[in-house]
């Protein structure tokens, strides 16, 4: 088999949460392009219907299921619906997540409700999905889990508490999955997206010229799809508990502002 053939996902079913728009939709469409059937889930019916329709125009089967990932009953029902439709689920992409109420606030002003919503949305949801799906992945002899973390999962930012803690928790949760399920031929890895403003004109304007990003540009949603295909495919079968960061170089630095470039020749008496 050629190395490029290992990327093919024909005959597999992928469940992508938060696939109604944004990065989740981009990943769902590329998984479909690689041959997988797709279960598309989020809270907003018309958005998941739209993604599912796009998957079908690619010639793959698709099912849109409403889910609230902060509610484990809702998640269990989603997994049941997916299994009923496709028999088995081989690939789980825990992508649903993002900003929640009061995301950028000083710690002493964060009420319990906001804290729980942030952590439930960006950590517990992925945990519930894995908990519901892993037994059947073990039974079927293998699977792939792809969790979407964030630069905030490895570095901190001003007045960002629950998102940063939850996305960091997701990283070590993924390592725990790797430790426990590697023997069952299940690989759990992370994608870390950098700045992906989608088609939001304000965000695009703010990041114009790629300020603060070493490569000088933001990410395009479509760039995330191939990374997801790589992690869902047999090409990454020995990668486990690891992270694939698509972020234009920011994490390679981070001790001084972007573009910091001192020049300090050796003193004559030091050579």
């Amino acid at each position: 088999m050629s190395v490029l053939d290992k990327l093919r996902l024909g005959g597999k079913t992928a469940l992508v949460t938060g696939a109604g728009r944004g990065l989740g939709r981009a990943m769902a469409l590329d998984l479909a392009e690689a041959g997988a059937d797709i279960i598309v889930a989020s809270r907003t019916q018309n958005q998941i219907d739209e993604t599912a329709a796009l998957v079908r125009t690619q010639g793959r089967r698709s099912l849109a299921v409403r889910v609230d990932i902060t509610d484990s009953h809702s998640i269990n029902a989603m997994i049941e619906a997916g299994r009923a439709a496709f028999g088995q689920i081989d690939i789980l992409v825990n992508n649903a997540g993002g900003a929640t109420k009061g995301m950028f606030r000083p710690l002493d002003t964060i009420p319990d409700t906001h804290w729980h919503m942030g952590v439930d949305t960006n950590l517990s949801g992925a945990v519930y999905c894995c908990r519901a799906l892993l037994p059947s992945m073990v039974e079927q002899g293998g699977g792939k889990i792809i969790n979407i973390t964030s630069g905030f999962g490895v570095r901190a930012a001003k007045n960002n508490y629950m998102y940063t803690a939850a996305k960091a928790g997701l990283i070590n949760f993924t390592r725990a999955l790797a430790m426990n399920y590697a023997e069952h031929n299940i690989q759990a890895n992370l994608i870390l997206p950098g700045i992906f403003p989608h088609d939001d004109p304000e965000l695009i304007e703010f990041w114009r010229g790629g300020k603060f990003i070493p490569v000088g540009r933001v990410g395009q949603d479509a760039e995330l799809g191939p990374a997801c295909v790589f992690l869902a495919s047999n090409l990454s079968n020995y990668m486990n508990g690891q992270m694939l960061a698509l972020e234009g170089g920011g994490l390679a630095g981070g001790q001084a502002p972007c573009g910091f470039a001192p020049v300090v020749p050796l003193e004559e008496d030091s050579v």
Partner: protein, 257 residues
């Protein structure tokens, strides 16, 4: 996206250290993905010459162009000449894979300064030579992919590993620094992190291999192809937003407490 987006057709690559198991696997995988691939050895020895010629033949038998040169990866002139030859015979240099590897493990007090310097020169300084030589064509065409192969010892320590760990850790952090330096020049600089892999220089002893199989979450060592093939992804057009990163293929080794 179609899967053709991962293809390396019309790209030219140079793999240093194609005499090692992982280097050879990377070279063959790049060729399988459509690239023409020049190969160099780690050491200028008859055994390594044999290895790179075999690798060249394997690439050519896939219908790709190749050339092989027996070099010492720590020799600046050797490395420069191979980069130039690749550029002139294949036409461009789009992908550089630094897979050259001189395995070494000894207690620190037993390491002679000659050994220390040699290990650092081949494993670390050789990467600097290759990156610098490749920068000319890559900066001129405003595009390029540099992929450094490191092992778990670039990230974690090991008894008797001081020299080797220092060199590999050096390569990892050089990867980050260079990624930033060339971030706006169209060149991405990344690493492929190899877990414990069949055929690795440090794993000649089968008892050691057994010990690792028991320890590793995935309960097996990597095949060289599983590591080498990751270079295809990083070398492809779809990986353009990834730079300064290490893609680890390590069977969960780094997740272990």
């Amino acid at each position: 996206m179609s899967l053709a987006a991962f293809s390396l057709a019309d790209k030219n690559a140079l793999v240093l250290g194609a005499s090692s198991a992982i280097g050879r696997a990377a070279a063959c995988a790049l060729a399988e993905a459509g690239a023409d691939v020049a190969v160099g050895s780690t050491l200028a020895t008859p055994r390594e010459q044999e290895a790179v010629l075999t690798c060249r033949d394997a690439i050519q038998s896939q219908g790709r162009k190749s050339l092989a040169r027996t070099i010492d990866a720590a020799n600046e002139a050797d490395v420069q000449a191979l980069v130039e030859q690749t550029h002139s015979e294949l036409g461009t240099l789009d992908i550089l894979v630094n897979a050259h590897d001189l395995p070494f493990a000894k207690p620190l007090r037993d390491i002679s300064s000659k050994e220390w310097c040699r290990v650092l020169e081949v494993n670390l300084t050789g990467v600097y030579f290759a990156c610098r030589a490749a920068a000319d064509p890559m900066l001129a065409q405003h595009s390029g992919r540099i992929i450094n192969i490191v092992s778990l010892l670039g990230e974690r320590g090991m008894i008797n590993g001081s020299a080797y760990c220092a060199a590999q850790g050096g390569v990892l952090n050089l990867t980050r620094a260079l990624a930033l330096e060339w971030a706006r020049s169209g060149i991405t600089v990344n690493a492929v992190g190899a877990g414990w892999t069949e055929g690795m220089g440090l794993l000649k002893d089968t008892a050691v291999q057994e010990q690792l199989r028991r320890y590793l979450p995935q309960k097996r060592l990597a095949q060289p192809s599983e590591v080498g093939e990751a270079a295809v992804y990083l070398a492809s057009d779809v990986a353009g937003f990834i730079t300064g990163q290490t893609v680890w293929l390590e069977g969960g080794a780094l997740s272990h407490l």
